[in-house]
Each structure stands twice: as C-alpha cells, then as structure tokens.
C-alpha cells in the first residue's frame, strides 16, 4: 500500500538524519527529542478530542497553562513537589474542563464549525486573561534540583530530566491506543468518533461519551501542566504556542493518527533544536511549526486536487 511505502521512506530519511546528527551535533538530536516529547504529550490529547468529538479546542494550551498555575500555587503554598501534584492536577483539570464542556462547548456541537472556533477562542482568551487579571503577567517558576540532572558521555554533556516528557508522550500514545482499541469504553468512543448516529442507534450514549473523552483529554493536559512546571517558567500566554503547535502536529499526523503525532513531533522538535544550536538561526526556531503547517496545507490541497 502507498501508505506503508511512504512511511518507510520517511522512517529511512529520519534515521539517516538521526545518524548525521549523532555524529555531528548530538545535543541537537537529544534536545530535539526531549522537546518532541513535550510537544507530543500536549498534542496527543488535542488529537483525541479532534478525532472523537470533532472539534478543535483553541483553548487547549490554556487548559495546560491553568493547570500549571494551579499546581504552582498549590506547591508553593504547601511545599509539595509538583510531581506529587500530577495526579491531582489531572483530576482538577478534567473536572474543570468537563464543566466548561457541559456549560459551553456542548451547546455548540451542533452549531456550524465557525461558531465552535470562535467559542473555544473566546474560552481561551477568558482563561489567559483571567489568569492575567488574577496573577498579573509576571512569570513564575519553581526551582527544583532534579531538573538540572545531567549525563556525561565522553565529551558530551546534556540534561536528562526532559526525557520524562518523552516517556509521558509514549505512555499517552500507546496508553490511548490500548484504551481505544481494547477497552469497552474506548471502543465505544471510537465508534462515536467514526459514526455518531450509528453509535447512538446501537445504544451508545454519544453525549456522555463526548464529555468523557473531553475530560480524559484534559486530564492528560492537566498532568502535563504540572510536569511542565517542573522545568519551565509560566506566564498567562505560555499556553498559546502549544495550541498552535499541537494543531500543527495533529494536522501533520492526520486526524485519528495518534502514534503519528510522535513522529511529527520529532520532526518539529529536532528542527527547532537544530535552529537553536546556531547563534544566527536561533531566533527562527519558533517559525518552524508555521512552515510545517503551510507545507501540510499545500501538500494536502495538491493531493486533493489530483484525486
């Protein structure tokens, strides 16, 4: 099948690039993969929602940001380590998201796609501006010792904490794959995603499934918010770039292709890392996702024209 051939070519190219990098500038590959993990872990929940509830949540990054803020205040107040906050953060974000979903997004599901876009955009603004209002735009950070852990291999020295993002991304990808293909709830969710009317006829509660999937996705995002806090500074606008990069990755992988997001994120992460490695190109790293999404759009529209 053409699909398999294309994937093989891509993988071969990727391996070739990886080998070149390892020999020439290994830190680019290492930091790129770590960043890829971060991006993928945040993008995968967006892919889940898009694939099953069929909406693009423009407030996606903001949910992560809010989770990070909540974790920040909980941890600075109680002295707790953010890692312990991961599960509570996930739970709280899921609950919060579920409430937002039922109050607002659910109403817009039957409305035109445009209304949904505007709605989630408004929700994102309300969240980021709400945080701005409450806590000002000052950046906040928690300093932790373990995040500066590093490994020395010969002349090579690099930080290792961020590999945790890679682990989480892989966990999310394959955990969700298992959930969606092997559990009853998951299979029902897949059915709803592919054919909501058919699923309803068969007796699946479509409404409840939507709420559940949305809450699940936000739980994953919330967990990432806590984890994100360990390494990075947070400010009200920290979530927005993740929304856009997540969409870019989901678009590159194709809707419904969650493992594909891993591959796409490696491309994005390593490209950014490559540009960051050189002083002249450092500032251009954040444009990579834009170039990639334009490439995806151009590629898709050319393919569509031919078919």
């Amino acid at each position: 099948m053409a699909m398999k051939r294309r994937t093989t070519i891509l993988v071969a190219l990727g391996l070739a690039a990886a080998v070149i990098l390892v020999l020439w500038k290994p830190t680019v590959l290492i930091y790129g993969v770590q960043q890829a993990g971060l991006y993928a872990a945040i993008a995968i929940p967006m892919g889940l929602v898009l694939g099953i509830v069929h909406i693009v949540n423009l407030a996606h990054g903001e949910f992560m940001m809010v989770a990070a803020y909540a974790t920040y205040f909980a941890c600075t107040a109680s002295g707790m380590d953010p890692l312990l906050a991961i599960v509570p953060a996930a739970a709280v974000t899921a609950a919060f998201g579920w409430v937002v979903f039922r109050l607002t997004i659910r109403r817009a599901l039957k409305a035109p796609e445009l209304n949904q876009l505007i709605l989630t955009f408004g929700i994102g603004i309300a969240m980021s501006q709400g945080i701005n209002l409450l806590f000002s735009s000052q950046t906040r950070k928690i300093s932790l010792d373990y995040v500066s852990s590093s490994l020395d291999i010969g002349e090579l020295s690099f930080g290792t904490w961020s590999f945790v993002f890679v682990a989480v991304a892989i966990l999310y990808a394959y955990g969700l794959k298992f959930f969606l293909t092997k559990t009853t709830t998951g299979k029902a969710a897949m059915a709803v995603g592919q054919n909501p009317r058919g699923a309803a006829i068969v007796g699946i509660d479509v409404d409840r499934t939507y709420g559940l999937v949305f809450a699940l996705a936000l739980a994953l995002v919330g967990a990432m918010g806590a984890l994100f806090l360990t390494k990075s500074a947070i400010f009200p606008g920290v979530g927005a770039p993740f929304t856009m990069k997540s969409f870019c990755l989901v678009a590159m992988a194709g809707v419904g292709n969650i493992p594909g997001i891993l591959g796409a994120s490696v491309l994005l992460g390593v490209s950014e890392s490559f540009l960051r490695a050189f002083r002249e190109t450092r500032g251009w790293a954040d444009i990579v996702f834009f170039v990639l999404i334009i490439a995806v759009i151009l590629g898709r529209s050319l393919k569509w024209r031919k078919s």
């Binding site: 693009v56 423009l58 607002t104 109403r107 817009a108 409305a111 796609e113 445009l114 209304n115 876009l117 505007i118 709605l119 955009f121 408004g122 929700i123 994102g124 603004i125 309300a126 969240m127 501006q129 709400g130 945080i131 701005n132 209002l133 409450l134 000002s136 735009s137 009200p236 927005a240 770039p241 929304t243 856009m244 969409f247 678009a251 500032g283 251009w284 954040d286 444009i287 996702f289 834009f290 999404i293 334009i294 759009i297 151009l298 898709r300 529209s301 569509w304 024209r305």
Partner: protein, 311 residues
Amino acid sequence: MNRNLARILAVVAGVLAVTLPALVGAYPLQVARNIMMYMALAITWDMLLRSGQISFGIAGLFGLGAYASILGVLRGGMPSWLSIPFAAIFSGAAAFLIGLAILRLRSTYFSIVTMALGEIFRIVIHNLHDFTGGPEGVVLQGVILGGDAGKLYWLTLAGLAVALGASFWFEKSKFHFALTAIRNNETSAKSSGVNIFNWLLLTFVITSAIQGMLGGIFVQSYGFATPDTVFSADFTLLPLAIALLGGIHSTVGPILGAILLGLAAEWLKLQIPYGHLIVYGIIIIIVILFMPQGLLGLARKTVRAADRRKP
C-alpha cells in the same frame, strides 16, 4: 428600519463625525479615534466572515502594516502620508502570498494559521532587528500632521471611511452574492460558477490591505512602534467582540458594537489595568452561544415578532 429614516440618521451621524473636533477637546477625540480604529477593524473582520472564513490574524496584518509604514519612513525615506497606502499594499501583498498557500484548505486550517500570524511577524521583526529595531521598537522624528488632535482624528476618520466604503461596496456588489453563496453552501456556489478560491483570496487581500492601512494610520498617529504595541491581542480581540456583539454579516452591526464596546473599553482600561481583555473573551462566549446574530439580530427578531403580531 424605514429607508428614509436610516438615510437621515446616516447623514446626521456623518455630519457629527466630521465636525466633532470643533465640538470636543483632545481627550474625547482620542477616545473617538480609538473607537473608530476598532470599528474599522471590526468591519474588515466581518467582511471576510461573510465568506465563512474566520481570521484571528487581524493584529498580525495590522501590525505588519504599522511596521511597513514606520520603516517605510525611517528606512525608505518615504513621506509620512505615502507610508499609509504603502502599508496597505504591503499587508495586501503579504495576505496574497499567505492566502495563495492556505486558502485551498479552509475554515479551521485557515483560522489557525491566521492565529499564528501575529506571532510569526513578531518573531521576524525580532530577528531582523537591525532593520526593524527589534523588541525595543522604533520611533519617528515627528508625528504625522504635527500631532494636531483634530487632524489626527480626521485621518482616522478617513481610514474608517475607507473601511465603511469597502463594506458597503461588498454589500451592494457581486461580492455580496459570491461571499454569501460561498458561506451558505460551497458546493452549490461552485455549480453556479463561483470560483471560490479567487473570491476568497480577493476578499482576504482587500480586508488585509485595509487592516494594514489602519496599522499605518495608527503608527503615524503615535509616532512609534514596538512589537508588543502593534501586534497587541487587543487588535484581534476587540474587533471580534465588537462585530459579534453588534451583529455579524452587516456593516451596521460593527458600528453599533464599536460605539458600545469602545466606550466601555475606555472605562474598563482605567478600572482593570491587567487582564481587562477577559471581558471581551466573555462577551465572545456569551454572544456566540446565546445570540450569535448579535444585538442587530436580536433587534431584527423583535421587529419581526412584532410584525407578526400585527393584525
């Protein structure tokens, strides 16, 4: 609304608008300028919305025009007044290239790419900082028209007039048919001979050019540009909230919304220094959920309901 009554009101409003500098002082004129700026941006956003495409990139094209204008003067030696149409052309050209790349896949893809525009342009300006002045921004020798409050007001009014004119033209010409047909049902529009891609590209270019022009007016009126000020989220958020609240798919709606929200914005800025934008986010949410046709739509529904009750 009765045709003649509407015409009379329009004339009165026009006369009032033009003679305002003779009637009020500098501060009210400044508020009026802000309102007109947001009104014009809201109108251009609505013009594209009529085709069914949502742009979240108003700030991006506005800011791009602002930089084109100020750099045109500082680096290109242009006279200030010329830099404003130059800004329009620059933003229009940028929109042309972007539209060429992304308008074949519409709605969500288009909207999200526009969302990224402000950030992308900001990054470009940061990186080319020898030419653009980077994050610290650039300053003009002097403000256009000598900084005279009345003249700056009229300049902005002229910009608004362009936006209003374009919007009315869109309502009365083939644009109305093309954009509405595309918005209603692209497949049907295609079968009636509408070249969807061309019309969308043209609309995107025209509205972006006007947004760029307004950016030029803005930057010339204040005499300086920094990435944070000209690419501010205000310039995307407020026009959206204004058009939604007033009533989308019309010229009158954004006018109404701008007057209401523009005055409220001035007051809000004084009350809540940080995060006053949350109000606009909430307005957007409430309008899109409960009154998607805006105040104008509500008014129309009330009139229609009253009509039906007549014997």
